[in-house]
């Protein structure tokens, strides 16, 4: 279980996250939704060690992991798929996947097989440079790359960003597939509809604070959420 307690993050003088508290239970899908600038990405980046928090703590399976370096976080079994795909354009698809397993020294065959089963497209293109892939394929590669570290918690920052609706459907069905394999998922999304449909638990963030929480279904039917994020 990943526990976030009163987490605060400052960028310069601006407080982007103003003390948020939430839990990510084991083997669940948790989503953070909210408008731009609500502090969703910052929260993920802080958990993954890319940004140092100014207060509060992050606890993973009873161990305090607040402010440890990003490679240590990955070693603990928490991996992030960064926003905007960020694949390594000058490396091949296969090399990208191998970088995902950078901190591991054991045999990768099984994990490669799993990733290629999830994304058959990547197998066809394993010798292609990642920069030549389409947007959807790059997103799949970004997810596959993160899976190669064999994470217990996979954090995804806006996996649907800039993708066609049909590909977004694919991505979300793959998220469910990954979840069924026993991976805990922490999802940050603008696409609140899809995210809440997929998630067990949802949190709504507004300007650095959690304003609502509940199961995915509850939030989907909540009038305020409907008005603000679902556009109905």
């Amino acid at each position: 279980m990943l526990k976030i307690r009163d987490l605060r993050v400052n960028y310069g003088g601006i407080e982007a996250v103003k003390g948020i508290t939430f839990d990510v239970p084991e083997k669940s899908i948790v989503t953070l939704i909210g408008a731009n600038g609500a502090g969703k990405s910052t929260t993920l980046r802080t958990i993954s060690g890319l940004v140092k928090p100014s207060g509060g703590n992050i606890e993973w399976n009873g161990k305090d992991i607040t402010g440890i370096s990003s490679d240590q976080v990955v070693k603990q079994g928490i991996t992030m798929v960064p926003e905007g795909r960020r694949v390594f354009a000058d490396l091949t698809v296969l090399e990208n996947l191998k970088i995902g397993a950078y901190l591991r020294n054991d045999d990768l065959t099984e994990d490669l097989k799993w990733v290629f089963d999830l994304f058959p497209r990547l197998k066809e293109r394993s010798w292609q440079y990642a920069g030549t892939l389409s947007g959807g394929e790059q997103q799949m590669l970004a997810v596959g790359r993160a899976l190669m570290s064999r994470p217990e918690v996979l954090m995804m920052d806006e996996p649907s960003l800039g993708l066609a609706p049909i590909i977004v459907q694919d991505i979300f069905s793959i998220i469910r597939d990954i979840h069924e394999k026993g991976v805990t998922i922490l999802l940050v999304e603008q696409n609140a509809n899809m995210a809440l449909k997929t998630a067990d638990i949802g949190y709504v963030l507004e300007t650095g604070r959690i304003t609502m929480q509940g199961s995915g279904k509850e939030l989907l039917n909540n009038e305020d959420v409907k008005k603000a994020y679902l556009g109905t």
Partner: protein, 399 residues
């Protein structure tokens, strides 16, 4: 994987054949021959090839734009020189100072285990030269590697100049001989191997061999997981960090590795030129090496090697006549006089850069398939020249 093994075997054979040819040329060509320039080019070319490849490891693969190369080469050259001047010659070299080091590694070892000790001593001195350069790189890297792009370039450039100034400092005279040059140490022109009555000259073979081994190691690094991590850092630092790559650690690793090989190339330069003088290692030398890297293609090891050899053979050999009155049979002492060579050389570089915008090799490596396809490609390339020239003068941005 089997295909890879076959490829590796073929490259190994090609490298061995190349080394064999160099060894043969070393015996056949006498210093007085017309062709002796070929040996000079091979010697200097291999020094610069290693320097360019090691710079490419940092600037091309890891994407850290550093301009401190001449400084690390200087450290390598001086370390090698200081460690290999025979004790008897020291008084002569350090005219104004009391030499601090009183031994020469090759001398000590050859007293101990005979002639093989000299070779071993030279080898050890070369490796120590690399390690000292590596140590300095670590110390400089601690503050400097936090900087990015242009700022890193300026800071490393500054450090290289500081290193040069320190080595010329008279207080360090007992070690570095102040601003005077170091000489009399083990140099390539005296490298020989006696087999019975027959003496093999190794003056070209040794630098080529050292460069080959070092470049081969760099190729291995490039293809290892570390190499992939370096390219990942160049492509996207944030994603690399999110994948668990420790940025500071890997940048330092790349910086130190690059400087280690720069130190070795500096030692080789001292060996080949048979002098070591701090004033030679100005930032202009860094720019020359950078030019080779850019001409060959940033991110291509074979490109850097090709760039280095083309640069050296053009500037040292093929255009020599332009300075001395007669070139390609044309005798024009009025035009072809001192300095004209550099004018022509600059024009050639501009033409190359205009036609090969990403360098000769781009970011690809030389492969057998590429060599096989050359006749066709060169034909196509020549056919496209008129179009390219036209595009250079057209107003539209050429693609």
């Amino acid at each position: 994987m089997k295909k890879d093994n076959k490829k590796n075997f073929i490259s190994l054979v090609i490298v061995l054949v190349f080394l064999g040819i160099v060894l043969l040329l070393d015996q056949v060509i006498k210093p007085t021959d017309n062709m002796s320039m070929l040996l000079t080019v091979l010697q200097k070319g291999s020094v610069y090839a290693l320097a360019a490849v090691s710079m490419n490891l940092l600037n091309g693969f890891t994407g850290l734009f550093s301009l401190g190369h001449a400084g690390f080469m200087l450290i390598g050259a001086y370390t090698y020189a200081m460690l290999t001047i025979p004790d008897a010659a020291r008084a002569d070299v350090y005219q104004y100072y009391d030499p601090a080091i009183r031994f020469s590694i090759p001398e000590v070892l050859s007293n101990g285990i005979g002639p093989a000790g000299t070779a071993l001593g030279v080898l050890i001195a070369v490796i120590i030269a690399g390690l000292i350069a590596c140590l300095f790189a670590y110390l400089i890297g601690l503050p400097v590697l936090k900087l990015k792009s242009d700022y890193l370039a300026i800071a490393t450039l500054g450090f290289a100049e500081i290193i040069r100034a320190i080595f010329q400092w008279s207080k360090l005279g007992p070690l570095t001989n102040g601003s005077n040059l170091l000489k009399g140490f083990e140099r390539t022109s005296t490298f020989k191997l006696a087999i019975g009555d027959f003496t093999l000259s190794l003056s070209t073979f040794v630098p080529v061999l050292i460069a080959t081994i070092c470049i081969w190691i760099i190729v291995l690094i490039k293809n290892s997981t570390y190499g992939r991590a370096f390219v990942a850092i160049r492509d996207d630092e944030i994603a690399a960090e999110a994948m668990g790559i420790d940025l500071a650690h890997h940048k330092m690793l790349s910086f130190c590795t690059s400087s280690f090989f720069a130190g070795i190339s500096g030692a080789m330069m001292a060996m080949v030129l048979s002098i070591a003088q701090a004033s030679n290692f100005r930032s202009a030398m860094t720019y020359e090496i950078l030019l080779m890297v850019v001409l060959g293609g940033i991110g291509s090891i074979s490109g850097s090697v090709i760039g280095a050899f083309l640069f050296i053979s053009t500037s040292e050999w093929w255009l020599r006549g332009l300075d001395s009155g007669k070139w390609l049979g044309i005798s024009a002492p009025g035009i072809f006089r001192n300095g004209f060579r550099l004018v022509v050389f600059s024009v050639i570089i501009m033409i190359v850069v205009l036609f090969f915008r990403k360098g000769i090799m781009g970011d690809k490596e030389l492969t057998l398939e590429m060599v096989k396809a050359w006749p066709k490609n060169i034909f196509n390339w020549i056919r496209s020249i008129p179009k390219k020239i036209k595009s250079l003068f057209s107003k539209k941005e050429a693609k």
